[in-house]
């Protein structure tokens, strides 16, 4: 009886493992191809989908790293961090606060503000680009990172507010009440009681904002003029033009490097959003 149960469990695990592996290959084929292309010769890259280079080229990384003109990829990586870290930091803080405000308090026009916030996500961006550009131009913010960082301070991305609201609402209100009895004020309830429980949500928000800001192409394109301020997403396309012979293996090599920081971030952050939370004792 017990052996049968053990076997069954074993079989389930093996099936799950095989399934995950097969699906994993499909999911990562583009990445594997990207990596192998960075070691191929230029004229081989588009000829076949094979993952094994006919002739291995080693210098695409060192050559590509040099970049174009005065600016190498060390500059572009540095810029990207300078851009992405403040955005991520401020987004997480501001949207947690706003999310907490929406989820736990009643105040006049709450539904109105909430709808307005959601509405912010729904108007297609291509038509608000011009007015927004004119606004930032008037502020004198063009060719700087302010058009990215300042809006992050003011929680302009409704995605994260709504996300935090949904997670806060999944936490029982009795916890807050317990805090009030212990004499906590609202900020202490947030930081001492709710935040530890919201770790999965906070780390997801951090991860998403980091990755989205990291790979965003269109906004930096519009707002940044000087090459010395280019983030990676712009730098990577700088080598691409319709008519010219592109150094594809170098582009691929730099693309591979460009996804390393987000991958590392995901790998280290995942333990926070998959770690179980024990609310036992307070529940049930």
């Amino acid at each position: 009886m017990s052996i049968g149960k053990k076997n069954k469990k074993m079989i389930v695990r093996i099936i799950a493992f095989v399934f995950l592996s097969l699906l994993g290959i499909f999911m990562t084929y583009p990445l594997l191809w990207l990596i192998s292309s960075s070691f191929k010769e230029n004229n081989e890259i588009f000829k076949s989908l094979s993952l094994i280079p006919q002739k291995i080229v080693m210098n695409s990384y060192s050559e590509g790293w040099k970049g174009i003109g005065q600016f190498g990829y060390s500059t572009f990586f540095g810029n990207t961090f300078k851009l992405v870290i403040p955005i991520t930091f401020f987004t997480v803080i501001s949207s947690t606060m706003v999310g907490y405000g929406f989820a736990r308090f009643t105040f006049p026009f709450k539904k109105f503000f909430f709808s307005v916030m959601l509405a912010g996500l729904m108007l297609p961006s291509s038509v608000i680009i011009i007015p927004r550009y004119l606004l930032f131009n008037r502020f004198g913010w063009l060719d700087s990172y302010l058009p990215f960082i300042v809006p992050a301070m003011f929680a302009t991305n409704a995605f994260f507010i709504f996300m935090m609201v949904q997670f806060f609402r999944g936490i029982p209100k009795e916890l807050d009440e317990a805090g009030i009895i212990d004499g906590c004020n609202s900020l202490q309830i947030l930081t001492r009681i709710l935040l530890p429980l919201c770790k999965p949500a906070i780390f997801s928000a951090m991860l998403f904002q980091f990755i989205w800001a990291w790979s965003d192409f269109f906004s930096p394109l519009i707002y940044i003029n000087s090459v010395k301020k280019y983030p990676l997403s712009l730098a990577l396309r700088m080598m691409l033009d319709l008519g010219e012979q592109a150094q594809w293996n170098q582009i691929m090599a730099m693309s591979v490097l460009s996804i390393v920081p987000p991958v590392i971030l995901f790998f280290t952050a995942q333990k926070y959003f998959v770690e179980g939370i024990s609310t036992s004792g307070l529940k049930g």
């Binding site: 004229n43 174009i68 539904k111 307005v116 509405a119 131009n137 519009i222 008519g243 010219e244 012979q245």
Partner: protein, 443 residues
Amino acid sequence: MRTLKRIVSLFFISCFLLFSIVGCGSKQDTESSNGKDDSTAKKDETIELRFSWWGGEARHEGTLAAIDAYMKENPNIKIEAEYSGWDGYYQKLVTQLAGQTAPDIIQINYNWLYDLRRQGKFFTDPRDLQDIIDISGFSQASLDAISVDGELQGLPTGLNAVGMIYNKEFFKKNNIPEDIDYWNWDNLIEVGKRVHEADPNQYLLNEFPNSLTSLVDMYLEQQDKEIIKGDFTLGVNVDELTEAYEYVQKLFDNGVIAPFEITALFQDKTEQFPKWLNGEIGMFMQVASVVPALSNNFEVGVVRVPLKEGAKSSGVSINATNIFAVNDNGKHKEEAAKFINWMLNHEDGINVLKDVRGVQSTENGRKILLDAGIVNPVISQTIDIASKYPGETSNEAELNSELKKIKYQYIEMLGYGELSPSEAASEMLEVLEEKIKELQADN
């Protein structure tokens, strides 16, 4: 739902209230910033010029070298290089023009000239700066090609023309003569059919929906016809267009041209198209400037486009690859013009820039580069062929993006077999007529 309605209406009311405040503020702001501009213009220290272009690695390196050399010669000039890839360049430029933040010197594309000029005057006519820019070296035809209503929009940086770019190996393997003057519309079908029958994976011709549209224009132009004339009237009747589309149908039916189902994904990305890279495509119509990107895997050559016997015009025109324009809103138009003049006319400039924007468009410039052995032979040959068999330059109607889109749609439907040639012809002319009316009402 009721609450939502209330919310939405409340939202709008507050929106309009706020807008009146924001609207007032904006006017004041622009006034004050104008005041600032005047004060900076008075000081004459270092002059800073912004220069934007798109391109690939070679063009960036060449242009940066030119900037460095120029700044060394003119220590009071500082040129800020704003270079990028092709992706998004146009959208950014449009945004900048709207915000009056465009650079002093702008590289623009031939296709945008009319669309941009209809929005406003953005670029200074180089003839207004004639004591600074020497335009005597440019042929009248090349200047006419980039003029809108007689107003020159900039200066051509290099020459470009379409030709039939072919895979030399493919031609040898299939016993196709590499004679430049070989092709006409009949033998195109004969040879194409033979090649495809010999090996069903092979196609003589590869045209994407956009280049096939140009091929149809060319086919008609050789019969002295145009789908839309320069004055925005239709220049063909249903029968004439049907005949042209029937020819296209024949290309598909006989396996001369690879089906869209296989090729359409690689439009404008031929350098990534495995069928071309693996030598299964004989030739296609392309502008010369892309030759370096296409000749990665094998040798390519160029031949004349198919020509109808006795045709007055080949339908091929020599265009500017890119154009250097002076921002009409810029603060230092003279200095910008000086730098453009140096790049295009001065020997030092030409020697540094080399052929990163195609074959130089001045006689003198071409000579300098030819002597130095820099020009790609296939590119210069394409230009030679095009000047031997000239055609008319594209008019505004041909470059209009909305009319272009309609022509594209019908070629697509024809190619996918959704419409027969006669259906496509009659339907398209109807739609074009409607759109032309709308465009004229707008202007």
